[in-house]
Amino acid sequence: MATTTPPTTMALSRRTRGRLQQLVQHVPAYAILILWSAFTLFAIGWIAMSSLKSTRQLFQEPLALPPEPRFENYDIAWNAVDMSRYFLNSVIVVSISVVLILLISAPAAYVLSRIKFRGSNALTTIFTAGMGIPYPLLFIPLFALMLDLHLTNSLPGLILVYVSLSLPFTIYILTGFFITLPSELEDAAVIDGCSDYQVYWKIMLPLASPGMLTAAIFNFIGLWNEYQLALVFANTEKTRTLSLGLYALRNALQYTGDWASLFAGIVIIMVPTVVIYVVLSEKMISGITMGSSK
C-alpha cells in the first residue's frame, strides 16, 4: 500500500512497459515488412543512383555512389524522345478511356447483375469470357478494322481499342460488386414509385461508387503501363504514349550502349507516376477499401 514512488511515474512506466511490450511483440512483423520494403526502395533507389553515373562506372562499381553526378544523362534521355508529348498523350488517352469504360460498363453490369432476365447469365459469361483472350490474337483483324475506320496510328483509335478490350474485365469487377449490394434500398425505392432508371441513377450507382472507383483505378494503372496495344495501334512520334516512349527509349539507347541515360529516362518516367502515387495513394487504395464504412 505504501509506495515511495509517485503515482504518475508508476503509471508511466506501466504504459511504457506496455508499449515496449507491444513493440517487441511486433518485432518479427516489423522485421519482415521492413525487409520487404527496403528491398523495393533500394532497388528503385539504385536505378536513380545509377542514372547519375556514366555507363562505364555503372558496370564497374555497381554499388558505389556516383563520383560526380552526371546530370547530362537526363539531358540525353529527355532529348532522345519527346517525353513531354508522350506524357500528355498518356494522360489524355488513359483518362478518357477510363471515363468511357465506366460510362459504358456500369449500366451493362448493373442490368446483368441485378435484373434477372432470360439469358442474363449467358450474356455475363460471354462478356467476362473475353478476359481470357490474349491480345496478340486480335492484332491483325483489329488493325484491319481500324484501317477501314481510318483510325490507325491515332489517339482516338487507341482509345477505342482500350475501351473495347477493357470491357470484359470491368464488367466482371462491376457485376461482382453490384451483386453484393443490399436489395432493401432498391425494393424500398420501387415501392416509393421510382422508375427503374431512377433506382439505378439515384440509389444503386452511388452505392456502387467504391466498386466504380476500384474499377477505375485498376483500369488506370493497367492502361497507363501497357505498351503492347499502343505498339500496334499508335506507334508514331505524335501518338506514342509514355510506356511506349520508354520502350522506344530502351531500344534507342541500348544500341548505343548508353545504359546510364536509359536509367535516367526510366527515372524521368517514374517520377511523375510515383509522385502522383505518393499524393494519391491514400485515395487510390482507400478507394478500394471504401466499402468499409456503411
Binding site: F143, N235, E237, A248, A252, T256, W259
Partner: protein
Amino acid sequence: MKNVKLLTLLLVAALALPLGVGVSSGQDEVKLVYWSMWNETEPQAQVIQSWIEAFEAANPNIDIQATWNGRQNQTLVRTALSAGETIDFVDQDADPISGGLVAEGLALPLNEYLDETALDEDMPVRDVFTPGTLDLFAVDGQVYLWPYVYNTSQFWYNKDAFAEVGIEQPPATWEEFLDACQKLLDAGYDPIAAESDIQFYQIDYLTYQAVRYGGVGFLLQTLEDPTGEMWRDPIYLQAAQNMRELWDKGYIPPESAGYLWPAGQQTLGVGLAAMELVGSWLPIELANVVEGSFEWGGFNFPAMPDGAGDQNDLMVYLLSFMVVKDTEHPREIADFLKFITTQENMQQMADEALVGVTRVDVEWAPEIADGAAAAANATAVFGMADGGVALYPELVNNILYVNWSKLFLGEITPEEFVETMVDDQAEYWANAG
C-alpha cells in the same frame, strides 16, 4: 429539267477531268511513306534523316514521311500491309526481310533501276556496290533489296590485350586460335566474351565452322535435307565438340551462362574479356563503356584443319532498303535510293554512324578498319546461317538455333546435338510438306 441535269453532269465531269489528270502530272506533290528499322535517336537514323532533308531540298515536290519503328519494323510493316495501309519503302536486315516480305512477293524488282547510271559515276549503279552484296539475296537473278549498311561477322578484340600477352598477329588457324586463348587465360583475361541469350550470335560458331570445313553452301544444303541425315557428317560433331572445348577449357568463362545481353559484351568493353565473335556494330554499342584509349581490332574466323572453305569467306549482315511492290511512286523512290548511294552520302553514313557501307571507295571508321579489309578481301560472302534464315526461317529459328544454343550452354552433348538435329529436322520437313 433533264437538260439542267445533263448540263450539271457535264459541268461536273469537265471540272473533274483536269483534276484527275492533274493528280498524275509530274510536278505535283508526291508523298513517300518510309517505315524504318532504326530508332530516331540512333546515329544511323539521324544520317538517313539528313539524307531525306537533302533530297527533299533538291526535289521540292517530294515529301518523304519517315516512321522510326525500331527493330520491330518488319513485324509492324507486315501487319500494316496486310491490313491495307500504304507504305512505299522500308528497310531491315536483309536476312529476315528476304525471308519475309520478299519471299511473300511484296517487293518491287529493282534490276531496271540498278542498271541506270549512278548519280556520281559514269557507270551503272550496280557497279558501285561492294561485290557480292547485291547478289547475295537475289532471287533467280532479280534483285529485290538495296543494301546500304555492311556489317561483318568477325572476332572483335582488344588490341592492347592481345599485344600484352604477346600475340602479334591475330590467329589464322584453329590451333593458333586455341593457343591465343590459352595465353589470354594465363594472363588473367576472359579470352572470349559471350551472351547466353542471343541465339543469332551463338550460331555464328556453327555457321563459320560449317563454312570453313565444308565451304559456303554446305550448311544450307544440310538444312535442306528432308531426312536430316546430313547432320551426321563428321564435321558437325567436330564443330560441336570444338564449341564445348572452348567452354571446357575456360576460354569462355562459366559465368557466361548467366550473361543476358549486353552483360557479355560489357566485359569486353571494361577490359575483362579480350574478344567476341559478333557483328561489326560492337564498337558502336560499346562506345560508352570503353576507356578512351581502347583500340579495336577484328580478325576473321580461323581456318579449320583440312577445311574446304577459304579463311576469307565472310559472313555479312546487310541492312537494306526494300520497295513495296504496289507503290505508286517507284520512280521517285529509285531516285532517292540512287541519291543515297553516292560516295558522299555513303561516306557520311560511315563517318557519322561508325558502320560499314556497301559502296566501294568509302573509308570506314578506324574502329572497324579490319572489317573494311575483310570486306575488300572477301572471297565469298554469305548470310545468317549460310542463307538459312532467309530461306527457312522457322527451321532455323525454332530448331537449329534452339538446339545449338543448348549445346552452346552445355545443356546437351555434341552427340545429342547431332541426334536431335536429325530427328527434329526430319519432323520439320515431314510437316512442312
